[in-house]
């Protein structure tokens, strides 16, 4: 592959991720609205929100680290997008692999923690400590799952994984070969998205949206952009590991939207879990199922 080709891919992949992520945010808000028997937001609502936030006249910055934190939060996900293969574009997937991706996906939370730290708002500090604890909770089953998947395919290269699954057809998809690991991954998914019922670190009525409490204008806009990337990353990663990636753009989009729709459809059934309950739940069920799944695949 030539250098210019690679550069085009590195620019295109985050852009595509952003556009698809906007669609996913819209879908999540629509699902929530329909479940509550509302009409929901109009089609372009996520774009209106982001444009308006960037167009605010007052941009209240609390200092250098506050701004760097947002850049880290968005930049971490932009780096992650270049490691995730999409139909027709592999980007850096050959060179990065699953371990790099798992590492890069932690950068946004840490960046957010830095940025919130400089805001010096107690609500923000409470929120970010809860967010990092939640990260500790879902990272254990997440690492178990990606370890099991890498063991089965014999590689940590995401492009190779997709090739293996697509050569064998649907019966070789991860979800057929290791259903227990896929289930553990599915239970971990809503916690990684930070949606209901795992949104104790946002908790609008109690700690005033936690990490976002001092964010206004372009800082909030940056977080909205980050959310698009976050949802996209989680959806694409699950599709790549268990659903055979995308043969073409049509099946790819259908799969990633379906993956994100599943946790959103059951989200409002449960009340919000407290931090220690999130920890207990995550370290009990997905870890248990994941360990049994590991035992099955490793025999």
């Amino acid at each position: 592959m030539s250098v210019s080709h690679l550069i085009v891919e590195l620019v295109l992949m985050p852009l595509v991720a952003f556009v698809v992520g906007l669609g996913m945010v819209l879908m999540m808000r629509k699902i929530a609205a329909r479940l509550q028997r509302r009409v929901g937001p109009p089609f372009l609502q996520p774009i209106y929100d982001i444009l308006k936030l960037y167009g605010k006249q007052t941009q209240i910055s609390h200092g250098m680290i506050h701004e760097m934190g947002i850049i880290m939060a968005v930049g971490g996900y932009i780096a992650a997008e270049t490691l995730l293969p999409v139909p027709g574009m592999d980007g850096l997937a050959d060179k990065g692999g699953l371990v790099t991706l798992a590492y890069v996906m932690m950068v946004p939370s840490l960046g957010l923690a830095l940025g919130v730290g400089q805001c010096a708002n107690p609500n923000g500090s409470i929120g970010i400590s809860r967010a990092l604890t939640a990260m500790l909770a879902y990272d254990i089953p997440f690492i178990l799952v990606i370890f099991g998947v890498a063991w089965v395919y014999g590689t940590t290269n995401l492009a190779d994984m997709i090739a293996i699954q697509q050569q064998g057809g649907p019966q070789t998809w991860g979800v057929m070969q290791m259903p227990l690991l896929a289930l553990a991954g599915l239970i971990t998914l809503p916690a990684m998205l930070g949606k209901h019922p795992y949104e104790i670190y946002i908790a609008p009525a109690e700690i005033a949206t936690g990490p976002m409490v001092e964010m206004g204008g372009k800082f909030m806009g940056g977080l909205f952009v980050m959310q698009c990337f976050q949802i996209y990353t989680v959806g694409v990663l699950y599709t790549t590991l268990f659903l055979g990636g995308g043969e073409n753009w049509l099946t790819f989009l259908a799969k990633i939207f379906a993956v994100v729709a599943v946790p959103m459809s059951i989200a409002y059934l449960f009340p919000r879990y407290r931090t220690e309950d999130v920890l207990r739940l995550m370290w009990k069920w997905p870890v248990l199922i994941g360990l049994v799944g590991l035992a099955v695949v490793m025999k």
């Binding site: 509302r38 209106y48 444009l51 976002m212 409490v213 001092e214």
Partner: protein, 245 residues
């Protein structure tokens, strides 16, 4: 004082007229796009001071669903565009409203719901109630009624949407242009030593919104009484314990 005079004069030269637009044709397009986005994405901070607050949950949830107009509740002033003041405002509450309003990022809009925010309503004879809300901060839209039903609230929000789209909702500039007047009214209620953490005069200078009404006798009084804001002392102290040295 002479330094202040000079800034007043500078403000006069650079003063931006209401409704005045830039000359670049692309700037018009951009302004119109931003105004459209602002009107379609309004984050509201509902400051629930009185009975009108009870009409907001039905306006937000399944029955009337504000989200289809792009209106969402937000919880901190930093994130909000609209400040909804839902009902009568006692003097103690008004202090909190002023703190909240001044912390909101511009462009910001205020909606007064219920008759009490218009003229005091049934609290007209109360000694502890601020009667006319627009004396203390500029209000974009009033929604009268005791209490207005959710349909009326949404109707009022639609009026504001239209105003923002056409660029008429500029009341936040009024606060900077006539700061002396608003501050004077606030000082009448809260006393001469009233001050907030937000430096309104510096912000007005930043936006070139300083007029000869921005500074005056009341801002001079503010300057006289102003004390530098200091961080609160951090203390970890249980009940009945002496503070450790």
């Amino acid at each position: 004082m002479s330094a202040e005079k000079s800034t007043i004069n500078r403000g006069h030269e650079l003063q931006v007229e209401v409704g005045q637009k830039r000359t670049n044709p692309l700037a018009h397009v951009f302004d119109d796009l931003m105004n459209f986005c602002r009107s379609r994405s309004m984050f509201m901070l509902h400051y629930c001071t009185g009975c009108g607050a009870i009409e907001l949950p039905p306006a937000m949830t399944s029955r009337f669903d504000m989200e289809r107009l792009g209106i969402q509740p937000m919880v901190t002033p930093r994130q909000a565009d609209i400040l909804l003041i839902t009902g009568y405002v006692s003097i103690k509450t008004l202090k909190r409203i002023m703190l909240t309003y001044e912390q909101m990022p511009a462009p910001k809009y205020v909606i007064g719901i219920c008759s009490c925010t218009v003229n005091g309503g049934m609290y007209w004879q109360s000694y502890a109630t601020a009667k006319v809300l627009k004396d203390y901060l500029p209000v974009d839209v009033f929604i009268a009624g005791c209490m207005p039903r959710p349909e009326a609230v949404i109707e009022g929000l639609k009026v504001l949407m239209e105003d923002i789209k056409t660029g008429r909702a500029n009341s936040w500039k009024k606060y900077f242009r006539n700061y002396d007047h608003y501050l004077g009214k606030q000082q009448q209620l809260f006393g001469e030593a009233w001050q907030t953490p937000t430096d309104i005069i510096a912000e007005a200078r930043r936006y070139d919104l300083i007029t000869d009404q921005t500074l005056g006798e009341h801002t001079a009084l503010l300057e006289k009484h102003q004390q530098p804001m200091e961080a609160l002392e951090m203390r970890l102290q249980g009940p009945g314990e002496k503070q450790p040295l």
